[in-house]
């Protein structure tokens, strides 16, 4: 046989085998949940994905996974595909709040209950929406720092100078975290006058380079800063690069320690709490959020409810140097850290 034709046949066979070799599945009985996520590029989403898929599969529920690669149009197509496959319910992590509304409407118009995990749609009146209470989680973390600051204040009589790295303020998460920070500072100053100096606000726009230059400028101007709160844990390496050359990157218990707190609960924050550099972080209780999402969706399916509409809040919790030994298993970042996520 002609060589070229042989090669061509080989290619076609490879094409067919390549497609089918990854496994042939047969239709299964029982419940099927479609899980359409926008991507898994951060530690938070990786852990969320695992929490949801593991739990659902653990309950014998079949999970159809779809990755939209940050393309909301692709996500809409995937959700439509889920609907035609006759899934019992849909969980989405949308790319943005606007497309989320369209996707929710699409699912509900087809009588399929849908839940949104952690990233709320602009209009939260439709669908099951599970979101973190940023104000509450921040308050819990800052409260822990305020207690430490109070003890320091009672011994030395010197006011504490707080600094907050603020996120992009068009983001509701950033607004909630800033509000939580100021709520605690104001409350403690009312109760213990003179405890905190006027907080310094440093804009980050959720950008590490912007945060670095603005923080350097702020610390140079006010080196007496002794408490820093970052609106997201991803900025701890940035904070370190500013404090370390100035001799201010010191673990707790040693002279010159700057009180540090953040929010998210990622693997880096867990490691730094372990090492004593960070005092507390507000944790989005990823596992609780996953549980709330799945429980409400499964309940809707069981009740035959095709368009459940409800907002469920995750109050979050603070992981601190004081409770890390008891609560580290509840923090998604610590689980990743313990699995060697930061060694990769």
């Amino acid at each position: 046989m002609n060589n070229l034709v042989k090669k061509s046949l080989l290619l076609i066979v490879a094409l067919a085998l390549g497609t089918f070799a990854f496994g042939v599945a047969t239709a299964q009985d029982g419940q099927t949940i479609c899980f359409a996520f926008q991507d898994l590029e951060t530690e938070f989403w990786v852990a969320g994905h695992r929490a949801i898929t593991d739990t659902l599969r653990g309950q014998g529920i079949e999970v159809l996974e779809y990755n939209a690669n940050e393309d909301p149009n692709r996500q809409l197509e995937q959700v439509r595909e889920c609907i035609t496959q006759g899934v019992d319910g849909i969980i989405i992590i949308p790319q943005d709040g606007d497309s989320a509304n369209t996707i929710i409407a699409e699912a509900q118009a087809s009588d399929v209950p849908i839940a949104v995990f952690n990233r709320p749609p602009n209009d939260t009146s439709a669908g099951v929406v599970v979101v973190a209470d940023n104000v509450s989680a921040t308050e819990q973390a800052v409260e822990f720092i305020a207690q430490k600051a109070l003890r320091q204040f009672e011994i030395t009589g010197e006011a504490v100078t707080p600094l907050i790295l603020v996120g992009a303020l068009q983001d509701t998460n950033a607004i909630g975290r800033r509000d939580g920070f100021f709520n605690v500072i104001t409350r403690y100053n009312e109760r213990y006058p003179g405890l905190f100096n006027e907080p310094i606000e440093v804009a980050t726009e959720w950008d590490a380079a912007t945060a670095l230059s603005n923080l350097e400028a702020a610390i140079t101007a006010k080196p007496e800063v002794d408490f820093i709160f970052t609106s997201s844990d991803f900025l701890f390496p940035t904070i370190r690069s500013v404090l370390e050359p100035r001799g201010m990157w010191v673990p707790a218990g040693q002279p010159g320690h700057v009180l540090l707190a953040g929010l998210d609960g990622d693997a880096t924050a867990c490691m730094l709490i372990d090492e004593g550099y960070v005092d507390a972080t507000g944790v989005q209780n990823l596992f609780l959020e996953a549980e709330l999402t799945m429980d409400r969706l499964l309940q809707a399916i069981a009740d035959g409810e095709t368009a459940p509409n409800e907002v469920l809040l995750d109050p979050g919790f603070a992981l601190t140097a004081g409770n890390i030994y008891f609560q580290r298993d509840e923090m998604w970042g610590c689980l990743l850290y313990d699995e060697g996520f930061l060694d990769q």
């Binding site: 061509s8 490879a14 497609t19 042939v24 606007d98």
Partner: protein, 402 residues
Amino acid sequence: MNKESAVSTINEPLNVAQTFSGPQASPPQTSSSGIVRFVRGLLVSDYFVLYLTIVFFSVSSIFFTTLANPGNIANQVQNMWPLLAVAIGQTFVLIIGGIDLSVGATMGITSVVGAVVMAETLDPAFFDKSPLWGTLMRESGGILAGSPFAVPAAVIVMLLLGTFIGFLNGFAITRFRLAPFMVTLVTSTFFAAFALWLTQSRNISGIPDSFVMLGKGDIISIFLGEKLTPDIARRDILPFITYPFLITVGLAIMAQFILSRTVFGRRMFSIGTNRKASEISGVPNTSVTIRVYMFSGFCAAVASILYSARLAIGQPSLGGGNLLLDIIGAAVIGGTSLFGGKGSIRGTFFGVAFFVLLLNILNAMRLSPFVIDAVKGFIILIAALLDITRTRLANRQAGSGA
């Protein structure tokens, strides 16, 4: 003989795809067995991808019964139209031996500009930092908010802008003799960033319903089965003839006509096959190339209309991610050569159908989404290798048949 007809005559022998493709072009190799001749004919056939798609679908449907579900078929067909619209433009560019990496960014910027024209409301909390705020964007909406001409004007502006970006590409490529890859990459980077800057990375919602209809409006829907209840559930109503279908099929027919029935189409194949020879033959390479890139920009704008309408937002990041891979992949799978001189709209249609079906099958297999992306890349690689094999086979047949 006038110049036009002279050029046509000169160009016709250069049209490798038209001359050599098709099962009827089987060479008289008497020593080959019947099976070999059949396989060879199949491989060089214009309908090769269609046959492959049908075989894939038929075999897969045995294992995954949901694939043959009418709802699934209707859904997958609807998914094809926007991708086909943009892939048609890319096919034109590939035929002349170019590449247009800016189609994604063109979709993003046209989506945003169209929304700025027609949006009915705009939230100052999101857009007050936009450079357009207070001039073209206000709390009361876009430039023509509330006007009955808002949607037609927005559509026209989107199409014109897409065509203009294509013109910029074609102009830079021909006048400055820059590589298409480099020019369209620069254009892509610029317009993607420009779209994000205009909106400060925000989607623009508040799009009029009449525009949204262009993306998901059904003209004829069908219901299969017995009507047992007074109301038919929405999920049981299947879209049949939709606006995206009409728009894209209209575009495809026009493109196929240009390619196969006009001098302009022949010139495109001529340029893609041998740019120097076509120039010597009197083909106006510069103007053809510019017009081809303009058409690609136009097609990207059409796709932008369909995608934006479907999600009911002006989206600056539209066309990002892996969409470019899908567009080029679908065209290549459809038999359009990355080296130019070969391709057809029919083939691209088959390529898009195969691509959409492939994703559908991979999803039905319950594969990990990460594996699916890897398989997609693998399939495109195989398609590219097959393209080389088919071209060699066609050339051999032509050589022995001549």
